[in-house]
């Protein structure tokens, strides 16, 4: 019998999960597929935050900006340069990764609130850059077209199932890659860096290099998720990546446990569920225009505050405490 190492187990787990998603995708309707695509996209974005904040200890509020960079890079590759959509997705991850590398080099000396502030400034200002350069299409943005499903899947293959397949596959591959990364030596290096930078430095870890590396990889992942988001809304424009997206993603990560990858899917589900919950709340209790618009944001903030106060290490820690009380 083959020896089932943890990494082989993980690979098997991902493959099985992917197969389950495939089967499920043929059972559910277009709406669930559409929502599922968003779950996959947000889960991937949250993964980038887990890597950056949970493991390497760098708090960044600029994930939405990095997603935007990836989305625009991918869109321009497909739309302007005419390459195949898969190339577009790869370019999205790469360009965002390089951008993250440069950004990481700049902010490597910063930490804590200073890093947060710098990335916050980035998140606010970067999308508006699109209004300055005509090639970026201003508010109308650039189209991100992955075309319809290949003909061999048949005529009934819905557009939303196609999006779901693309998003899930990309997310699965990337999350598997990151999961492997985090359980390897690199993951341990990140944790050492996060918990005690001085001790890490003393044991020979090049803190600066590792920080920048984590930033770059995290940005690449965020860029890919940005490209996936652009696919779902058929294009990229500044208003698709507002600051509130950064906060929502961070909330999703914190609520489901920022120190581990296990909660990313749940985080994605939470982010998709919040606007739905807000919608049904509004239809039940009514409300003015202002109320309807700010309710999702309010729910996100409330959730974040509750999570930080009651379960800063994720929901699992609540159960753990109960166990110990016994």
């Amino acid at each position: 019998m083959l020896k089932l190492t943890p990494s082989k187990k993980r690979l098997l787990l991902f493959i099985i999960f992917g197969w389950i998603l495939l089967v499920l995708s043929n059972q559910v309707g277009d709406l669930k597929l559409y929502q599922g695509s968003f779950v996959a996209t947000y889960a991937l974005a949250i993964t980038s935050i887990i890597l950056l904040t949970g493991y390497s200890g760098q708090l960044s509020l600029g994930q939405s900006a990095l997603m935007a960079v990836g989305a625009y890079a991918g869109a321009l590759t497909i739309f302007n340069a005419g390459f195949h959509p898969v190339i577009g997705l790869l370019v999205a991850a790469l360009v965002a990764g390089v951008f993250g590398l440069l950004l990481g080099l700049i902010v490597a000396r910063l930490s804590g609130p200073y890093l947060a502030g710098t990335t916050l400034a980035l998140a606010v200002s970067l999308p508006t850059l699109a209004n300055q350069f005509p090639i970026l299409g201003a508010e109308e943005g650039v189209a991100f077209d992955v075309g319809s499903a290949p003909a061999r899947f048949g005529e009934d293959f819905s557009q939303y199932k196609w999006y779901f397949w693309i998003a899930s596959l990309a997310a699965l591959i990337m999350v598997w890659f990151i999961a492997n990364l985090l359980t390897s030596r690199y993951g341990r290096t990140y944790k050492a860096l996060r918990d005690n930078p001085v001790a890490a430095e003393l044991s020979g870890i090049n803190v600066g290099q590792v920080k920048v590396g984590a930033f770059a990889i995290s940005s690449g992942v965020a860029g890919l998720s940005g490209a996936l988001l652009a696919i779902l809304i058929s294009g990229v424009s500044p208003s698709a990546f507002p600051l509130s997206l950064s906060f929502s993603l961070l909330t999703g990560a914190v609520v489901t446990g920022v120190y581990s990858l296990k909660g990313v899917i749940l985080g994605g589900l939470v982010l998709v569920a919040i606007p739905e919950i807000a919608d049904s709340l509004v239809s039940r209790i009514g409300g003015s225009e202002g109320f309807t618009t700010s309710l999702p944001g309010f729910l996100v903030s409330a959730l974040l505050i509750l999570a930080v106060v009651f379960a800063p290490n994720g929901p699992g820690s609540l159960i753990k405490r109960k166990h110990h009380k016994k």
Partner: protein
């Protein structure tokens, strides 16, 4: 990996619970034709309710709902009540894409009506896969001529004349009424504006200076409107004694910003202002702070009677409906246009017959749409090969009260096409309004 067993268990359990909850909330299987039951027809509209365009266009869904409620109170369409589901897209293409997708996927509407905005709707059409899902896209609130392309937009029916048509009529109006004057075009830099530019080119009109094309949202930065006025004053200096014609091809908030800046600089009477129909609603201009003395004399174009003209039977009927079913909303050109589209929608639904299908309603408009009753003073151009609604304009002039009267005192209707066809004077007489504004066509 979560090392702690209970943490892992908790995360797994909560994932399953949330996923289960979401899956279980799936709606039951749909009837053969989405959005139609024995008692109800669901229609959807994605338009700006808030945001910069919400100020003027926010009234559209409410006005349509009012008309539909009036019809529902009078038997509906073959006994079915019309429900209009309205979603706010803030005039942002990305939100329009999401909300339109929600209308199709979540709200399961039969058809879309009155979708608003060029960039917004172009993106939404694609994102929501309206062509693939064969969703009728009726009487859209935009004049971009690209929407008549039946290959790209197979389910779309326009109602507004195209911007290219409007530009050609404006060009003729300038030539006839302001010969020899310099002219400038200030237009929104997207398909809306460029459609207009194409129209002016097709009409052979040459502007005195290069067109001022601004991106959407440009004038929300303070000082930019004043800068444009300053450059226009340069035009005055270059051609002393002239009264240049400034053509404003943008939304009402931009028209207001520029008119206010001109008033602040004291030069508002040095120009003839020609406000394109999209940005010429007098009530909104006044509400945004433009002085009535500035509005007095502004030239515009319209294809409908003026909303303040109570001698027009359609206007009077719609005002009555507005008073009873749309309480608290002032009747203006936007409400008039919205109710008019609603009336066209009801006639389309009726013409499709009792066995209502998506294909059926589209064929009905193609074959019978040109004869539908409406308040428009110009003809409707629907046919098997044409998705064009109204195809002309009459030139109007605003007075200090914000009323639009025919320019020069006499109503002259011009019709044309979006291409190189000539602008002709039309003798069209519109169909009589159905009794009490309730269509009985079939």
């Amino acid at each position: 990996m979560i090392r702690n067993k209970s943490m892992r268990r908790a995360s797994l359990v909560s994932s399953i619970v949330v996923t289960g909850a979401m899956l279980l909330s799936t709606l039951p299987a749909q009837a053969a034709t989405p959005g139609v039951t024995a008692t109800e027809i669901k229609l959807g509209i994605s338009s700006p309710l808030t945001g910069s365009a919400g100020l003027s266009y926010g009234k559209v869904p409410g006005a349509m709902k009012a008309y539909f409620n009036y019809i529902n109170a009078n038997g509906g369409v073959y006994g079915r009540k019309i429900t209009l589901i309205s979603r706010d897209d803030k005039y942002l293409p990305v939100r329009a894409a999401t909300e339109t997708t929600n209308l199709i996927l979540k709200d399961n509407v039969f058809a879309l009506v009155g979708a608003l905005g060029t960039a917004t709707h172009a993106k939404a059409y694609k994102a929501a896969a309206l062509a693939a899902n064969n969703v009728p896209d009726l009487f859209i609130n935009t004049g971009f001529s690209g929407f008549t392309d039946q290959v790209k937009y197979p389910t779309t029916f326009m109602v507004l004349p195209t911007y290219a048509m409007e530009a050609k009529v404006i060009a003729k109006a300038i030539k006839d009424n302001f010969p020899g004057q310099p002219s400038v075009l200030i237009a929104q830099d997207d398909e809306f504006g460029t459609d207009g530019v194409a129209g002016f080119t097709a009409a052979g009109h040459k502007f005195s200076v290069p067109n001022v094309l601004y991106p959407q949202g440009y004038f929300s930065t303070p000082g930019r409107d004043a800068a444009v006025i300053t450059s226009l004053r340069g035009l005055l200096a270059a051609a002393p004694g002239s009264k240049p014609v400034i053509v404003l091809f943008g939304t009402t908030d931009v028209t207001a910003a520029l008119l206010k800046a001109a008033t602040a600089a004291g030069v508002e009477k040095s120009f003839t202002w020609y406000a394109g129909s999209v940005g010429a609603d007098a009530n909104t201009l006044l509400a945004l702070g433009v002085k009535s003395t500035t509005i007095d004399g502004v030239v515009s174009a319209s294809f409908m009677p003026d909303a303040k003209d109570l001698t027009d039977p359609y206007v009077k009927q719609f005002v009555d409906i507005n008073t009873k079913y749309n309480k608290g909303i002032t009747f203006d050109n936007y409400v008039l246009a919205a109710m008019n589209s609603a009336m066209l929608t009801v006639q389309a639904l009726r013409a499709a017959g009792k066995d209502l299908t998506r294909e059926g309603v589209m064929t009905a408009i193609e074959t019978k749409g040109a004869k539908f009753a409406s308040a428009g003073l110009v003809p409707l151009g629907y046919s098997a090969t044409s998705r064009i609604g109204y195809n002309g304009y009459w030139v109007s002039q605003l007075n200090a009260k914000g009323e639009g009267k025919p320019f020069g005192g006499k109503l002259v209707i011009y019709t044309t096409d979006s291409g190189a066809g000539a602008v002709e004077v039309s003798t069209f007489v519109r169909p009589t309004m159905p009794k009490n504004g309730i269509p009985t066509n079939s």
